[in-house]
Symmetry: C2
Amino acid sequence: MKVVVLAGGTGAAKFVRGLVRVVDPRELTVIVNTGDDLEWWGLHVSPDLDTICYELGGLLDPQRGWGRREETFHCRDAMAALGRASWFNLGDRDLATHLFRSEQLRAGVPLSEVTATLCARWGIASHVLPMTDARVRTIVTMDDGDVPFQEFFVHRRHAGAVHAVRFEGAAGARPAPGVIDAIHEAAIVVIAPSNPVTSVGPILAVPGITEALNTTAARVAAISPITGSAAFSGPAARLMAMRGWPTTAVGVAMAYQSFLDVLLCDAGDAALGPEMEALGVRPVFTSILMSGTALAERLAKETLDAGAQ
Amino acid sequence: MKVVVLAGGTGAAKFVRGLVRVVDPRELTVIVNTGDDLEWWGLHVSPDLDTICYELGGLLDPQRGWGRREETFHCRDAMAALGRASWFNLGDRDLATHLFRSEQLRAGVPLSEVTATLCARWGIASHVLPMTDARVRTIVTMDDGDVPFQEFFVHRRHAGAVHAVRFEGAAGARPAPGVIDAIHEAAIVVIAPSNPVTSVGPILAVPGITEALNTTAARVAAISPITGSAAFSGPAARLMAMRGWPTTAVGVAMAYQSFLDVLLCDAGDAALGPEMEALGVRPVFTSILMSGTALAERLAKETLDAGAQ
């Protein structure tokens, strides 16, 4: 059974960890947000691609949820001593990924091919695709002007009012090779419990992807990143409010309304069921907390089951 | 008293360690070989500049004589796991230097300015100048063709017959800002105990530098990198033979004959004295072994004394 996941970083990686325990990893395609990619110390960094690949390759640090296991930060500290910005934490092992990628990109190799090479070297059987090979950048408009996503998310720790979010370059971007086919060939497309605005939003903004989701024969399921009116982590609720969506699972259903069949929500949100059904979305109330591999595996299985109905 | 040193890497760093204990570091200018610079993992690496700067900044690993103290190599190992060449050992802390330099060079900042910035950040009071801001590459012709210097020196561990050495780009290069003035303003110019062919040779190949040495009012002293007929380390003797020079201190005197006043040689080489004098070079026989800072300091003092006579 072919499965596609639309993914941001940390939350999506948790779900994928469970998913590869209940599907054949070779049948899994993960389409990953690259809107929060950045140039750092002259290197091209793709935080969400790396988080997903590190998870699938068994390299992800399980405590932090980003970066590599048993990581050190000696280069970062030496950069700080040279007076360079060091708030974006690139580890020493992690640097190899960015050096490898940057050199290939500079030589004209598309991001999707570089990602495939990295996956092959790390022994990853699943297919990991960037949403696009084009440059798309998530830009956040704050009181003091526009800032790139990582500046907002990491450096400012997502503090401060957000007036707008846009995906620079998305309108002219094309889906990476394989993205549209994967969506059409899947039995189920799962939208990971990622931020609907800044993690999944950039993917949906690449022309052709939302259309493929609207027209695929696959069932489309999502896992809510929100319980009650609070996100598991990060600024999802505030950003959803900025979009005019309720900061509940109902808002998640609205974000994906045009193509969403099933939404897995927290059991405590059962009262919201009728609102979701009114949007044409079937809610499944369960435990969506993934504190550990066993819970992630159970949620993955429930998601596939819900999609099969 | 203003002192200029012409320097390669490891041997020169040992001498400089002694020298800054007997001269005011602010009066010292080190002009450094960049012929063995390389692009590695997409970064610009300047091995000799780094060795000298790390020494002056108290960052040099004292055992290896290259790279930084208390270094780790996690990025290199991760690169090897990705199938990338890893024979040139860039440490994790060391990477910061190359990332910093590469980003600045890509932005159009000349190497000499980047080096000055690095020195300032590391609290180095001496002046460290690359021989040129232009791209010069030492190329070694071997049985199987031309190889860049580091490929010969590090990857092949300087094994194999060498038929020629050339300095690509040197003929069109200009000395870096400050190089010619420093040579003219110095009381003494010291040629460090570096390989005359591949460490000092590239410096002398930059048009204007040999002329400045020929015409400066400064005394010019050199320390032989050879005792008897063996170099302290590396392929100096073989490369000197290829140039047609004797593989003794006499060969060193011949390499620098047009400007050399004094040559510090091993006491065991006293029998070679008349040959050196016949070349117009005054030999000083002493202990030129620098196994430790105290010996390096004594040799530096003797060099300055010899130059003052």
